[in-house]
């Protein structure tokens, strides 16, 4: 699935990274606990979250993710947008809630597949 398709499915706005919407991603995860993302996630390219602070972007960066989706219309701070741009991350924001957003993506074929290293 492309990031552009995610944007369509989630009726999302692009906050930054417009130029990367054609990039393909193969899995995603949803969490508000960055600790859990760091511990349990492997090779997920997309992070859906309701948490808004710089460490969300840092976590995605450390995990080599390519896209962050903020649910419930949450908006990242300018600082976070700068950090995201520095590491070529796409940021989307969707009005949907976490459960719905994850469900829609899963239903359309974007799977999870998290496991311990």
């Amino acid at each position: 699935m492309t990031i552009g398709t995610i944007k369509e499915i989630l009726e999302a706005e692009v906050v930054c990274g417009e130029e990367s919407l054609d990039n393909e991603v193969f899995s995603a995860c949803g969490s508000d606990m960055m600790s859990d993302v760091l511990a349990y996630v492997k090779n997920q390219a997309v992070l859906l979250t309701g948490l808004v602070n710089s460490q969300v972007v840092r976590t995605a960066e450390m995990m080599d993710m390519v896209c962050i989706v903020f649910v419930r219309s949450k908006k990242p701070t300018p600082e976070m947008i700068e950090l995201a741009k520095d590491s070529s991350l796409v940021i989307l924001t969707t009005p949907m809630r976490m459960y719905e957003a994850c469900g829609k993506l899963y239903e359309n074929g974007l799977r999870g597949e998290s496991r311990h290293v």
């Binding site: 508000d32 606990m33 600790s35 710089s54 960066e61 450390m62 590491s87 311990h116 290293v117």
Partner: protein
């Protein structure tokens, strides 16, 4: 590469927002060196967890990373409260993090176990009231 490459960072313990800067810097430098993505990710995640720990548990500290021919060494040194019981701290789910830290997305008690999992070697030296030094190694050869 005969001479080892070193990086030094002061980790600000008062600013949660800027935490992770050192790890992000190291990640970028390792990329420029052309190291394998898996190795870079191991180093980044282990160092980032350690850096976050220094900020949320120890009031900041110093990070030193050295790239040797056969391994990468990460040394995280702080002058925080120290760790009373290392075995306990190493258990998955054990955390003394405050609710504030949890509301920021951390404090699941997975950091130290994660650091161990992502590195080939990890040593913790700690003294209550004095501080903690964590050394981690990621091998570059099998």
């Amino acid at each position: 590469m005969n001479e080892s490459l070193t990086f030094h960072f002061d980790v600000d313990g008062t600013d949660f927002t800027s935490a992770g800067q050192a790890s992000a810097n190291v990640k970028r430098s390792l990329r420029q060196l052309g190291l394998a993505p898996d190795i870079i990710r191991q180093v980044s995640i282990a160092m980032y967890e350690g850096e976050i720990n220094m900020v949320i548990h120890a009031g900041g500290g110093e990070a030193d990373v050295t790239v040797f021919e056969d391994k990468i060494e990460i040394v995280l040194k702080d002058h925080g409260p120290g760790i009373k019981d290392i075995d306990l701290a190493m258990q998955e789910g054990y955390s003394t993090a405050t609710d504030t830290v949890r509301s920021l997305g951390f404090g699941a008690g997975m950091g130290l176990p994660n650091m161990k999992r992502y590195t080939d070697e990890m040593h913790i030296e700690t003294e209550v009231g004095k501080g903690t030094t964590i050394k981690m190694y990621v091998n570059l050869t099998d």
